[in-house]
């Protein structure tokens, strides 16, 4: 599943994985380096030899690093994560120092707190651990925030690019020829039959084909057609189909003449009518009828294409035509255009599109 890797929730294995990936060689290096510096700084005023001091500072540094990293893995902390991480340092520094001193005194509290030199040492090492730890932690947090900002900027750039590509794709799809070879050659075969038989219908049918082809060819510089133009295109297409299947196709157009000036994305109505023929009427032995209409509803216009064909099977893959149309409507009107599919009793499909009518 694609979504899971993006939305993963850290359960136990996730915690350890995050923990170890946050524990980089670089962070361990910094801890060791600072332990060396701290040991060198305190060596002149401390009695124990340098290797022992280094052992102590190293121990404290590593414990602090582990505490800081572990606190960073807490996914939904009650306070901001950086507060939790700094608090972990503040809490761990004295505890780790105390542990070091308890080891050196053999676990004897009296020996530790009764000896002023040891108390001074404890305060110095603990204080140094606190200060160094805090400084390093703040540095680490700052860099982390920087990296996050970079990642986010990259993510935004990626999303923007994806959107641009999708817009270009949608445009390209429209520009690609809408004419299916199967439709074209079958229609030409019919025209050929009419011409060869000397039928008087040949000329008007050829006229319909020319009108359809002209409208369906890619149009680079023409803007949105009017509903009147779409109506003429759909009529040409349906007349061709009716010539091909006279016993199986009936149709009627009921478009309010007052709406003929409304502009809409190219081939909006044609896509719906072609779908009605291809998926509704053509696969059905009995055929059916197609009703096309447009009506104003206050500030919006409703277009519909209804067929009494085979209907949609629940497992039938949606055609690309409808998906492209949805994309084009969304690109033009945002969410002010609504495309709805309805089942028709006893069989068939009704598609309704509601558009804002301000283009009228």
């Amino acid at each position: 599943m694609q979504a899971t890797s993006l939305t993963a929730d850290p359960t136990r294995p996730g915690f350890w994985r995050g923990f170890f990936s946050a524990l980089t060689g670089k962070s361990v290096g910094w801890a060791i380096g600072l332990a060396v510096v701290a040991a060198l700084m305190i060596a002149p005023i401390f009695v124990p030899p340098l290797p022992v001091l280094f052992g102590r500072t190293l121990f404290i540094a590593i414990v602090l690093l582990l505490a800081y990293t572990a606190a960073g893995q807490w996914r939904s902390p009650p306070l901001p994560r950086w507060v939790v991480q700094l608090a972990a340092i503040g809490l761990t520094a004295p505890i780790a120092t105390l542990a070091v001193y308890l080891v050196s005194t053999g676990g004897d509290f009296h020996e530790l707190f009764g000896n002023p030199a040891r108390v001074t040492g404890f305060i110095m090492i603990g204080g140094a651990a606190l200060v160094f730890g805090m400084v390093l932690a703040l540095g680490g947090l700052y860099r982390e925030r920087d990296a996050q900002a970079n990642a986010q900027a990259l993510q935004f750039a990626l999303e923007r690019e994806t959107l641009q590509r999708q817009a270009a794709d949608a445009q390209l799809k429209v520009l690609q020829s809408q004419v299916e070879p199967h439709f074209l050659f079958n229609t030409l075969a019919n025209v050929q039959a009419l011409v060869e038989s000397g039928s008087a219908r040949a000329a008007p049918v050829l006229g319909s084909l020319i009108a359809y082809l002209r409208a369906a060819m890619p149009q680079l510089h023409q803007g949105a057609p009017t509903l009147g133009q779409e109506e003429a295109l759909v009529r040409s297409y349906l007349e061709l189909m009716q010539m091909r299947m006279p016993d199986r196709l009936a149709f009627a157009l009921a478009i309010d003449p007052a709406l003929r000036g409304v502009r809409l994305p190219p081939t909006t109505l044609l896509t719906l009518v072609e779908n009605a023929v291809r998926h509704g009427i053509d696969p059905s032995e009995a055929g059916g009828r197609i009703d096309i209409g447009a009506r104003r509803n206050g500030a919006s216009v409703t277009l519909w294409v209804q067929d009494s064909g085979r209907g949609i099977d629940e497992a039938q893959a949606p055609g690309t035509g409808l998906a492209n149309l949805r994309e084009r409507l969304a690109a033009t009107y945002g969410n002010r255009a609504v495309l709805t599919l309805l089942g028709v009793d006893p069989h068939g499909v009704r598609v309704e599109i509601t558009l804002p009518a301000d283009q009228a």
Binding site: M1, Q2, A3, T4, S5, T7, A8, D9, P10, T11, P13, G14, R17, R75, S76, P181, H182, L184, F185, N186, L188, A189, N190, Q192, A193, L194, E196, S197, M243, R244, M245, P246, D247, R248, D282, P283, S284, E285, G287, I312, D313, E314, A315, Q316, A317, P318, V338, T340, L341, L342, G343, D345, V349
Partner: protein, 259 residues
């Protein structure tokens, strides 16, 4: 010489007439004894009239020409007629099956007629049931239907809204939640109750796109914004652009483990 009988099957009447007219001119001894408007009629008329030659349009409503031919192989001479079905033409060539591409010219039809006449010369070379041809037809029939059968997962949800039946493309569905014996469908355009149970829907929806995350909840994976861990080995699913938060129960939590 007795007449040769033929059947023409095409859902487009002008094309049936056109082919019949050309055949009458090129092959006067041929008698078209039946015309069929779809594959089912073609099979019925074939059984009734037993024609020696059959012209079958590939693309017909209901039963396709290829499907219809499968019951005729070996019992007649079959010629397929097709408009730009490149994959079909390729298949016909593999099976050495005769075919015409629409729109055809008379010269091309003339070649077909000659071939048919040769094969029908006595003694009729019984087109022995040729295994290769049968295999090609079977594969092609599967391919033609295939587009219908490859789609196994639910693509549309039919939901009654008021007096109408909405057809909702599944990609618009955000999530589904069981509501006693009904299921609540929540999609971009609203909400509706359907009769299918969550269990049925879990079987019918594409598991690449939908996941059951709770005994009573199925979610569209593409709509998940994030998953946050809750107490006691559960989690919550947050959705893109919606306020609902969906529960993930323990037995479905593995879906969201880090990969």
């Amino acid at each position: 010489m007795s007449a040769i009988t033929a059947l023409i099957a095409d859902d487009e009447p002008l094309l049936r007439e056109h082919l019949a007219a050309h055949l009458a001119r090129l092959w006067p001894q041929l008698r078209v004894v039946a015309e069929a408007r779809n594959g089912r009629e073609a099979v019925e008329l074939f059984e009734d009239r037993q024609p020696q030659v059959v012209f079958l349009d590939v693309h017909m409503p209901g039963l396709s020409g290829v499907d219809a031919a499968r019951s005729m192989v070996g019992r007649t001479q079959i010629v397929f007629v097709t408009a730009y079905e490149q994959y079909a033409v390729t298949a016909f060539e593999q099976g050495a099956i005769d075919y015409l591409v629409k729109p055809f010219d008379e010269a091309r039809l003339g070649e077909t007629v000659q071939r048919l006449q040769q094969r029908l010369q006595p003694p009729v070379l019984a087109t022995a049931v040729d295994g290769a041809t049968e295999a090609v037809l079977e594969r092609l029939a599967g391919e033609l239907r295939g587009r219908a059968e490859a789609r196994r997962w639910l693509q549309w949800i039919k939901a009654s809204v008021g007096t109408t039946v909405r057809l909702i493309p599944v990609e618009q569905v955000v999530f589904l939640r069981s509501d006693e014996k009904y299921t609540l469908v929540v999609w971009d355009g609203g909400e509706a109750l359907i009769r299918k149970t969550i269990r049925e829907l879990a079987d019918e929806l594409d598991p690449e796109r939908f996941a059951q995350i709770h005994r009573s909840v199925i979610v569209n994976l593409a709509r998940i914004a994030q998953v946050s861990r809750g107490v006691n080995e559960t989690a919550d699913v947050h959705l893109n652009g919606r306020s609902e938060v969906l529960p993930v129960s323990r037995s479905y939590l593995h879906l969201f483990r880090q990969m």
